[in-house]
């Protein structure tokens, strides 16, 4: 992190340690004031702390369930924060189809927040493929596993999609390159349910991911630490990312 800290990070830290804020981060940091010395926080910490004790603001929101190593924790996302997530691309008639149903719902709401009318996928692939035909989708928000299930629709298309955004924590680029003929562009978006999107790159054999605005990455002893300047319901400050599977950052 640069010295001095970026203005947005300073504001985030003040907000999180304010007198009316929940004690989650104050307790976790145990009086430490230097940013680089703040103890990282992880999925285990979220798992151990009920949402009500790490809810830093109260807005209209949806709550997702995150599956983390043998347990579940809640991740609350205000619709305003969903709207501010700055990844892409997005067409005019997107289909959102993801293996994680809570993620699928949140990314569908993201489309609405961009004032785009999306189609949400269903668990049964046949219905999703049929509805993709009906709506004549022009773009896709998906993950690698779900993309495979859309081959019936993709195979019936006479024109490539405008875009495919593939979300996930790691990517098999060689396997994804096989889908290049189905879209004019394919974007890989690094995203976790509890952090939201934080980096993206055009699909290639060896993509270099660029951080999204307001996202900061540090290389820690055990891996990468993510901080997002956005004042989220549960802020992301020096969050220890799970292993990202050989991801390279620009």
């Amino acid at each position: 992190m640069t010295d001095p800290l970026p203005q947005d990070i300073q504001e985030l830290l003040m907000w999180v340690t304010g007198s009316s804020a929940p004690p989650f981060y104050r307790d976790h940091w145990r009086g430490e004031k230097t940013f680089e010395a703040l103890p990282p926080v992880s999925r285990a910490d979220f798992l151990a702390t009920p949402l009500s004790l790490r809810r830093y603001k109260d807005e209209k929101a949806l709550v997702k369930v995150v599956h983390a190593g043998g347990g579940l924790f809640s991740s609350e996302w205000s619709f305003a924060d969903i709207a501010r997530e700055s990844w892409g691309p997005l067409g005019i008639r997107p289909l959102v189809y993801l293996a994680d149903s809570d993620e699928m719902l949140e990314k569908t709401m993201w489309c609405y927040e961009q004032n785009v009318l999306p189609l949400i996928g269903e668990v049964v692939p046949e219905i999703t493929n049929s509805s993709a035909d009906f709506y004549r989708i022009d773009s896709l928000v998906t993950d690698a596993a779900s993309l495979q299930k859309l081959l019936p629709h993709l195979g019936r298309r006479t024109e490539p999609l405008e875009s495919i955004a593939v979300l996930g924590g790691s990517f098999d680029c060689a396997a994804l390159l096989a889908y290049a003929r189905y879209a004019k562009r394919i974007q890989l978006v690094l995203s976790l349910p509890e952090t939201g999107a934080f980096a993206q790159a055009p699909l290639s054999a060896d993509p270099a991911f660029a951080l999204l605005p307001g996202c900061y990455l540090e290389k820690g002893e055990q891996g990468f630490l993510l901080t997002k300047a956005a004042q989220l319901v549960t802020p992301i400050i020096r969050y220890a990312l799970p292993r990202l599977g050989g991801v390279r950052f620009a």
């Binding site: 009920p50 807005e59 609350e76 008639r93 709401m109």
Partner: protein, 371 residues
């Protein structure tokens, strides 16, 4: 002759709506939603475009924290849109997935502290049966949709959520909300039509019960006229105390809650009631209705498969069960199954015993038509 819109005509209307949508995308996406029904054994999925208004968006009223038990993504999305675009500030929604129901989810639900438990009836009951959540047990409001609520199910809901006001919405895949919300003077399975929706009954029997047809504003200036929704009901024309001029009394879902056969109405709730009276003889039942052509005359028939944990019924017990079931089971407002057997409208009730409990697969289909 009464005309109405059939499923294929509805499909064509939605294709036209789709073309209009593509030609002129909405300036405000928040008013619209796309969904697909799963279809039936006789038809492909139906792809639907909704245009929503403020009355529809107010589904959850003033409740602040909605815990949802709905399975399909489109219904989850619809509920989320109600929260996002409804007028109640700081409203939140949290869905349970079937695969997550258990102690961990119970803790998350307790921490969320919902003031409304919303869902498809059978999913609500499943959550209550499988998840020991203090918060759900003390929730003040339960809103169920999607299924006809029997007295037994209402009792189960009330036992699971003893402090809750139980509310119902009449909503269908094709129309989203067809009913107004929460008239305090209405009982179970009774509704007033919401603004823009017209409810009528066709093919009425002697008691005024028939097929429900709905008319509604579909998309922009397109309207669906008299679509047979697949439910059975009757219209009560006396004004309600709230001032509404008519009320729909829903009798159930064709093919699941009830079947029509040779002029009789076989109702799942009635079969449940009578099987309850025969608890000394059987533990579980499944009923299959059929028709036979007997010398040019169509007769109805019912085969009752029964299970008893302490051993299969003897031949004498089967005869006793057939007699009791037939004499108790009303299949018209005034006549029992036994009456219609005497009149040679139905064949005598057949009893078949099974050695194992009936498998449980999602919805409990205890009454069905043999094809």
């Amino acid at each position: 002759m009464e005309s109405f819109t059939d499923r294929e005509a509805l499909r064509q209307q939605y294709l036209k709506a789709r073309d209009l949508l593509i030609a002129a995308p909405p300036s405000d996406a928040s008013r619209y939603m796309l969904r697909s029904t799963s279809g039936t054994s006789q038809s492909a999925p139906l792809h639907i475009i909704f245009e929503m208004d403020e009355e529809v968006m107010a589904r959850f009223g003033d409740c602040r924290r909605v815990f949802g038990a709905v399975g399909t993504m489109s219904v989850r999305l619809l509920a989320t849109l109600f929260v996002r675009y409804g007028k109640t500030p700081r409203q939140k929604i949290f869905f349970a997935s079937v695969s997550d129901i258990g102690p961990d989810m119970a803790s998350l639900a307790d921490d969320f502290a919902p003031d409304m438990f919303y869902g498809f009836l059978s999913f609500n009951l499943s959550v209550l049966a499988r998840m020991d959540s203090r918060a759900l047990k003390s929730v003040p409001n339960v809103l169920v949709t999607g299924e006809y609520l029997t007295e037994a199910q209402r009792e189960l809901l009330a036992q699971g959520c003893p402090r809750a006001k139980i509310l119902q919405i009449y909503a269908t895949s094709e129309t989203t909300s067809a009913s107004k919300d929460f008239c305090p003077y209405l009982g179970v399975n009774t509704y007033h039509a919401r603004r823009g929706v017209a409810i009528d009954i066709i093919n009425k029997d002697e008691d005024g019960v028939g097929d429900v047809v709905l008319s509604w504003n579909m998309f922009r200036d397109m309207r669906v006229s008299r679509y047979k929704i697949g439910d059975s009901g009757k219209i009560i024309s006396e004004p309600c105390r709230c001032g509404e001029g008519s009320t729909l009394m829903l009798m159930g879902r064709s093919g699941f809650d009830y079947l029509k056969l040779v002029g009789a109405l076989l109702r799942k709730e009635e079969f449940d009631r009578v099987s309850g009276l025969c608890r000394d003889l059987i533990d579980e039942y499944r009923a299959e209705a059929y028709s036979v052509n007997q010398m040019g005359k169509l007769l109805g028939g019912v085969e009752l498969s029964v299970y008893r944990a302490r051993g299969e019924l003897t031949e004498t017990e089967k005869l006793l069960l057939a007699e009791r079931f037939s004499s108790e089971l009303f299949v018209t407002p005034t006549q029992t199954f036994a009456n219609l057997v005497d009149k040679n409208i139905f064949l005598p009730l057949r009893i078949k015993t099974v050695a194992e409990p009936f498998p449980r697969t999602g919805k409990d289909v205890t009454l069905k038509m043999r094809h």
